[in-house]
């Protein structure tokens, strides 16, 4: 009987896609000058797993290309070849090709065979062309014979004072007699913890040098899979180059629970891994002997490929190794950095190193939360089920509000118990609503994760150096908003790289670091979420914007605040006409960005300092389903106006009302003449109040234009659940949706931009005389009916 493999295809596709995404993330995070061994291993494992899966399922084209990729990665991983930008580019391109092939198999989409051949050839060329030239002075360069030289060993694996401060130790692990195969397996396993080198002692027994921030217990527990733990001799080796402070004491690594050795020379370790099957509990390992002499550089032939390791090829042990890999990232980065520095022996590099490290750390720091997020358990539920749940809870909230309203009309003394129960119901309903709403929330990481690649490609194309940092990637936002924020953010990020951050030579002249920083951050502030795109580039030039705005015919004055000046770039068509050096392009499409953000009920704001950079700050409501609204009345009807579009409300004095040719009515507010849009006239809705001085004016701002909406009364401010009119009906001009009020009646939510538009194109006066048309009297009849 044959097994139908096709049923497993989906699993493979999903897994391969995840692995590709992971590999891309790692590739983008890698420091080319000093690649992190751990990251290289992870990338290698991803390629290896895809290769294995593809071959199993008969996708030979994918297997072929991953094989080539894997070979090249292997060489780099074993440091037979130095990692260059060229490699990273090739890997990224290969990743794209594999993704294309994957999609080809999965969805039957087209695969560009030429591209496949190209990348395959590129990879082969890279792998062969440089294979013969091992990087000189690379720490673990292939050296089959023992060099018997302590100096070589020192240069290969050392712990600097800096690293010791981070809890990194160099352990000397003396092994019992082991076979070559076991030795190589052991090395692979220990490589999960950090850097490993082996050498042969005087008594012909092998010993391993392990550089890691894990504890000796971890080493014992890993070795115990292969050799008898009791036969191990582990010693902390304090070896460091003469220039480094040997005396620096290593604090315990954060995740380390066992007592860490404080004495760099000696180490006594309990055989603390109780419960290991192989363990025969016969006490402590012997005290380590003196360190051996020579260093056998790793021979490194295809250990990983053989796949003997317990944690290989790509699914690490669920607990310990994974946790360590996360924890290790900083340490490992520092370690690889340090080895590279030592090997290169270029003194000039040294001062640069700490900064680079901090940079790398900052980046990884921000990566961490997302890495942990993906590990948390979750269930997949269709979005329509969630939406249904949210709708039902919305109903419940309305019903609850109705009950509350009715109960409030009762005598509070006689019905005390009932009133108490209802107020409890109110609390419970609120809690329920909040938790249900949170189901739709997704971390910002879904958006942020697509930018590193884009920034990298763009920076490369523009010849700029950009460091991309994200903060608050775990901040959650409604799914529908997440989807809609992508385009505006892409635009802003591209603008920042393109126009904000200067070219390296200019930055150097200005005394800035050559590498520009682009930060994307998200955070909760009050009831909204604030997303910021920050660059440390040239900033906006106030004078140039003012001059440009004036030449575009926009109303400007010198006395405008910076915020007002900067928001001029959101004006449609601003700066599209000509290139204005430091602000060039910043206005291209910025009006679209602003419109999109406003459509989501959000705000956008610019802060900038000339020469220091720009921050574009977007604040969005947490969800689209709920709106902060001001309810206003018109006759007996209630309308809801989105609160974020209301600047102020006022009752005008008669002398502030002006007309043009006796018709176009305006109000004079703080030096501005704003058109009055009478809602009752616009909606042909008769009401008793036709004189603006008796009603209320809402000063609204939409699409950068202010206008005054004339309604009868303000009713109150409240959160409303937005309901679509289009589900069962159609779009109505001037109305963006509907909501259900506490008494069960329907109130319409006004579409402020549309109303402003309608107000501008409809000619009417606010008095009743101009309404004597057929349509109106019809309507009047049926309303009165």
């Amino acid at each position: 009987m044959t097994v139908d493999m096709s049923q497993f295809y989906e699993v493979f596709f999903d897994e391969a896609e995840e692995l590709l995404a992971e590999a891309e993330r790692l590739l983008l995070g890698i420091d080319v000058a000093a690649p992190d061994v751990e990251q290289l291993n992870a990338i290698f494992r991803a390629a290896h797993s895809i290769k294995g899966g593809a071959a199993t399922f008969g996708f030979m084209d994918m297997a072929e290309i991953t094989h080539v990729l894997e070979n090249l990665l292997d060489k780099i991983r074993k440091q037979e070849m130095a990692l260059t930008n060229e490699h990273v580019d090739a890997f990224l391109a290969a990743k794209d090709v594999i993704k294309m092939q994957l999609d080809g198999h999965r969805h039957g989409s087209d695969v560009d065979a030429e591209q496949v051949n190209d990348i395959s050839a590129t990879l082969k060329a890279l792998s062969e062309g440089q294979a013969a030239v091992p990087v000189e002075a690379a720490p673990a360069a292939t050296a089959p014979q023992a060099s018997q030289d302590t100096a070589a060993q020192v240069s290969a694996l050392t712990v600097s004072a800096d690293e010791q401060a981070k809890g990194i130790q160099l352990y000397d692990v003396g092994l019992p007699e082991v076979t070559e195969k076991d030795l190589s397996n052991l090395k692979d396993e220990l490589a999960l913890l950090g850097e490993v080198a082996d050498y042969q002692r005087a008594d012909n027994r092998h010993a391993l040098l392990v550089k890691t921030d894990s504890s000796a217990d971890d080493i014992v527990s890993i070795c115990s899979f292969i050799v008898d733990p009791d036969a191990l001799v582990i010693q902390v080796s304090g070896t460091a180059p003469a220039t480094e402070a040997v005396a620096a004491v290593a604090p315990a690594a954060p995740e380390e629970t066992a007592a860490a050795p404080a004495d760099p020379g000696y180490g006594f370790f309990d055989n603390g891994q109780a419960g290991k099957p192989e363990e025969n509990s016969s006490g402590k390992p012997a005290v380590a002997e003196e360190m051996g002499y020579g260093l056998f550089a790793t021979d490194g032939q295809d250990q990983q490929e053989e796949g003997y390791g317990f944690f290989a090829p790509f699914k690490p042990h669920p607990d310990a190794p994974k946790a360590q890999m996360i924890g290790d990232e900083n340490a490992a980065a520092a370690l690889s950095k340090a080895t590279a520095d030592t090997a290169a022996t270029v003194p000039a590099d040294a001062p640069a190193a700490p900064r680079e490290e901090r940079r790398a750390q900052a980046r990884r720091e921000s990566d961490k939360p997302s890495a942990q997020n993906t590990e948390s358990s979750s269930i997949r539920v269709g979005i329509e089920k969630v939406d249904q749940l949210i709708n039902l809870v919305g109903e419940l909230v309305i019903t609850q509000a109705m009950i509350e309203q009715r109960v409030n009309a009762l005598d509070p003394v006689e019905n005390e118990a009932l009133i108490n129960s209802v107020s409890q119901l109110t609390r419970n309903t609120r809690d329920l609503q909040e938790s249900v709403m949170s189901i739709r929330m997704m971390p910002m990481d879904f958006v942020f994760s697509r930018f590193p690649r884009m920034v990298r490609d763009l920076a490369g194309k523009l010849g700029k150096k950009v460091e991309f940092v994200t903060n608050g990637a775990s901040t959650e936002l409604d799914k529908s908003l997440i989807e809609r924020i992508v385009d505006p953010l892409t635009h802003l990020v591209r603008n920042s790289v393109d126009h904000g951050i200067e070219k390296p030579e200019i930055r150097r002249e200005l005394g800035k670091s050559e590498i520009g920083t682009l930060t994307l951050s998200a955070a909760h502030k009050g009831g909204s979420i604030v997303i910021e795109v920050t660059d440390d580039g040239g900033g906006l030039n106030r004078d140039k914007i003012l001059a440009k705005a004036a030449s575009n015919g926009l109303p400007v004055s010198e006395s405008m605040s910076d915020t007002e000046v900067f928001s001029l770039i959101f004006a449609p068509g601003f700066s599209t006409a000509e290139v204005v050096t430091d602000v060039s392009g910043r206005g291209v499409g910025m009006d679209v960005v602003k419109r999109n953000i406003t459509a989501m009920g959000g705000n956008i704001e610019i802060r900038s300092a000339l020469g220091y950079g720009t921050t574009i700050s977007i604040s969005l409501p947490l969800t689209l389903a709920i709106l902060d609204g001001m309810s206003v009345s018109l006759d007996k009807s209630i309308y809801v106006v989105p609160l974020n579009l209301i600047i102020e409300t006022l009752q005008p004095r008669a002398e502030d009302l002006k007309t043009v040719t006796g018709e176009g009515l305006m109000v004079h507010v703080r030096g501005e003449y704003l058109p009055i849009i009478a809602l009752h006239a616009l909606f042909n809705h008769p009401t008793e109040i036709t004189d603006p001085t008796e009603g209320v004016l809402l000063i609204l701002e939409a699409d950068g234009k202010k206008s005054a909406l004339f309604v009868d009364r303000l009713v109150g401010q409240q959160q409303v659940v937005i309901k679509s009119l289009e589900t069962n009906f159609k779009r109505i001009p001037g109305v963006s949706g509907a909501t259900i009020m506490g008494d069960g009646s329907v109130a319409l939510i006004l579409d402020v931009p549309a109303i402003t538009q309608m107000g501008q194109t409809t000619n009417y006066v606010t008095g009743g005389s101009a309404f004597a048309n057929q349509n109106y009297s019809n309507l009047k009849n049926h309303i009165n009916a």
């Binding site: 109903e395 589900t727 009906f729 159609k730």
Partner: protein, 170 residues
């Protein structure tokens, strides 16, 4: 029945349409006329209350109501068909229709009955000029000396003249 061959052809087509039309109908009153709509399109029947008016709509679109959290438009067929006295009181009835997922309410003077109509009850509609296009009338039926006008309510409600849907659909 003696017909010319041409008429027979037409008759055949009409008969097949009528055959399709056989089934259970909800009958209701508009003015002095009896109308029938396919029962499967009817979701529920309720009284008329609290309609929120919508600006700049034709008179027969009364507005929208809150039907257990759904926003449902209400159409007064009496205004549309120009029939009967337009009164809204406790006897005014709204038939809530579910037309392929879209929910619409129609105001009628009263709901009469549910009738099972077989093919033999059904007659075709002669060419007439009326307030609505006869293409929305699937047939006529005689029940106890009374004429029943069978309306293809789905076609009617989604037609452009009812203005219930965005124009793009058509």
């Amino acid at each position: 029945m003696s017909t010319t061959s041409e008429m027979a052809n037409q008759g055949n087509n009409a008969v097949s349409a009528l055959k399709m039309a056989a089934g259970e109908y909800l009958t209701f009153v508009l003015g002095n006329e009896q109308y029938g709509i396919e029962i499967l399109k009817v979701q529920e029947i309720r009284g008329y209350d609290a309609v929120t008016q919508i600006a700049n709509m034709p008179a027969f679109i009364k507005g929208v109501i809150n039907l257990r959290g759904k926003i449902v438009p209400i159409v007064d067929l009496r205004i549309k068909f120009n029939l009967g006295k337009i009164e809204y009181n406790e006897f005014t009835v709204v038939i809530i229709l579910n037309l392929n997922g879209r929910i619409v309410g129609i105001v009628v003077d009263g709901v009469s009955d549910v009738r099972e109509l077989r093919e033999e009850h059904l007659r075709e509609v002669p060419a007439l000029v009326t307030r609505i296009d006869t293409k929305y009338i699937v047939g006529l039926a005689t029940i106890e000396q009374e004429m029943l006008i069978l309306v293809d309510i789905e076609k009617l409600m989604s037609s452009s003249e009812m203005e219930l849907m965005d124009a793009v659909i058509h």
